[in-house]
């Protein structure tokens, strides 16, 4: 069974705050949900599917209680930053199967105001693999740096090329009133920012912010009669990638499995895609993901991202909202990939609008490239 043509995104909302010490995580989710339902022209009473991640323990039940919802479909899978891209695909499948009619996907986080040290706080945990890792001082930045160093060695990728990704992303952020960092930066600025874990500099890394967002998914049929132009969910795919029992190639990502699958399921080719939202926890994440997705050959990411190709007006504009590098990154930013792609497809992006945007690709990465991570891909169309 294919989900193609069965479900659509009817509403989205991006919480405007990047710093919210005066709000709770649940409040951010409720406000985001209200925004997305209003966008769709629906109310909380219409919602019978609830999706979230990043809430501790059985948090989705608490969330349902807090919202006074009794959903008939629940999904709080937690696969890191790709969770909400994954939820969008799961919601489409649940709707296609008739398990729910209106799915509300929520995210809210205060990782910034709670002073959660995401990138450099060290690791901890009881997973089997971690008994062979935590003693060596892995950090999120360091784990991605392992991939960056290997990519540079194997393919001659340079720090300048990685920096270019941060520069283009900042240019996009300068056109997004909600973006946290909007002042232009240069390649030199990236290269002279401090090394956090070589070869990654501070400006190769995403920020940490508070924030949240929401997505409303319903049947394609119902979406036609709602307030906004429906955005069709054409396909979804997922994967994960890990140490492969000691034999992994560090320059590949989970995107290599989920990306081509999502394109094939939507019956579209790379060249058909008008814009892409590519998880940008770090500049290297973008480069390796573009290669793994197949937008360029493996090893050619460094030259692919140059000459304006990934900027507005280029062949494949990416992260037009400013991404995690410049707009917001409340720990897991998958939801914003889907929100921005939806807005682009609806032609609502003002100065940063991609011309004639009909097909968008979203790819979320959750976890760490250098150790283990998840990938979720989505093809959206208008």
């Amino acid at each position: 069974m294919s989900i193609q043509g069965k479900a659509a995104i009817a509403g989205v909302y991006e919480h405007p705050l990047r710093w919210a010490p005066h709000k709770t995580q649940y409040q951010i989710m409720a406000e985001s949900g209200r925004g997305a339902l209003e966008d769709a022209g629906l109310t909380l009473k219409d919602v019978d599917g609830l999706f979230t991640s990043g809430v501790s323990g059985m948090g989705i039940v608490s969330l349902a209680e807090h919202l006074n919802l009794n959903p008939s479909y629940l999904d709080s899978n937690s696969i890191g930053g790709s969770s909400f891209v994954s939820h969008t695909g799961h919601a489409a499948a649940a709707i296609a199967a008739g398990y729910c009619n209106v799915a509300l996907i929520l995210y809210g986080s205060k990782w910034s105001s709670d002073r959660f040290a995401i990138g450099t706080g060290g690791a901890g945990g009881g997973d089997p693999s971690e008994q062979f890792e935590n003693c060596y001082g892995p950090t999120t930045v360091g784990d991605y740096a392992l991939t960056a160093q290997r990519h540079m060695h194997e393919f001659g990728t340079t720090s300048e090329q990685l920096a270019e990704i941060a520069v283009v992303t900042r240019r996009h952020a300068s056109l997004n009133p909600l973006a946290k960092f909007r002042d232009p930066i240069t390649v030199q600025d990236v290269l002279t920012s401090r090394l956090v874990s070589s070869p990654l500099h501070l400006l190769d890394c995403c920020m940490i912010s508070d924030g949240g967002g929401a997505i409303v998914v319903t049947s394609a049929e119902r979406a036609r009669d709602l307030r906004k132009k429906p955005v069709q969910i054409l396909s979804a795919a997922e994967s994960c990638y890990h140490t492969s029992a000691g034999m992994r190639d560090l320059t590949d990502a989970a995107a290599k499995q989920s990306g081509p699958t999502a394109l094939a399921r939507a019956s579209v080719a790379h060249k058909d895609i008008d814009m892409a939202m590519v998880y940008d926890s770090f500049t290297i994440t973008v480069l390796v993901t573009l290669e793994s997705l197949g937008f360029c050959k493996k090893g050619e990411g460094g030259s692919f991202i140059q000459n304006g190709r990934i900027g507005l007006g280029g062949e494949l504009p990416i992260n037009t909202d400013g991404g995690g590098l410049s707009s917001n990154h409340p720990g897991m930013r998958g939801i914003f990939l889907v929100i921005e792609a939806t807005k682009q497809l609806r032609g609502e992006c003002g100065e940063r609008q991609v011309k004639d945007c009909q097909l968008a690709f979203c790819h979320g990465t959750g976890g760490t490239l250098g150790l283990r991570h998840s990938g979720a891909s989505l093809v959206l169309g208008i």
């Binding site: 060290g122 001082g137 000691g246």
Partner: protein, 140 residues
């Protein structure tokens, strides 16, 4: 007065699957596992073969030699133990036996580490029961 230096970095949690590995490390020996059923060699230690789920495994003693597959010089880590060791080198070392393991490179300056550099195992005695395998440049 000589002060006992307390080991502050996280220690592995010994369980039924990884116990023989860490017991060998305590003897300053490095072992990987091999499946007798399918022949696959693998790392990290577990109680079954990740290729065919067979429990018929053997422990293979490593030469302790390998090369640096990739590395990073970590300059920022707020957690106890590592905060005091900055900058330190985290690396994947490819063992002669063919598997890659995460480790630290010690015994040289961080900026001397290069991909492809030959290294050999050394052990840091963290506690009387636990020694952590690290790698240092191969003695010439």
């Amino acid at each position: 007065m000589a002060e006992e230096k307390k080991y502050k970095k996280p220690l592995p949690r010994i369980d039924e699957e990884n116990k023989p590995f860490w017991e060998a490390c305590a003897r300053h020996e490095l072992y990987v596992q091999k499946c007798r059923s399918c022949g696959k060699l693998f790392y990290y230690a577990r109680g079954f073969c990740p290729e065919d789920l067979s429990s018929d495994l053997e422990w293979v003693k490593c030469s302790g030699k390998g090369t640096v597959y990739t590395f990073t010089v970590t300059r920022q880590n707020q957690s106890a133990g590592f905060r005091d060791s900055l900058p330190y080198v985290m690396a994947y070392v490819e063992l002669e036996e063919g598997v890659r393991m995460l480790t630290n490179i010690v015994g040289c300056k961080p900026d001397e580490v290069k991909i492809g550099m030959p290294v050999e195992v050394t052990f840091e005695d963290a506690t009387p029961e636990i020694s952590i395998p690290l790698f240092q440049p191969t003695a010439k």
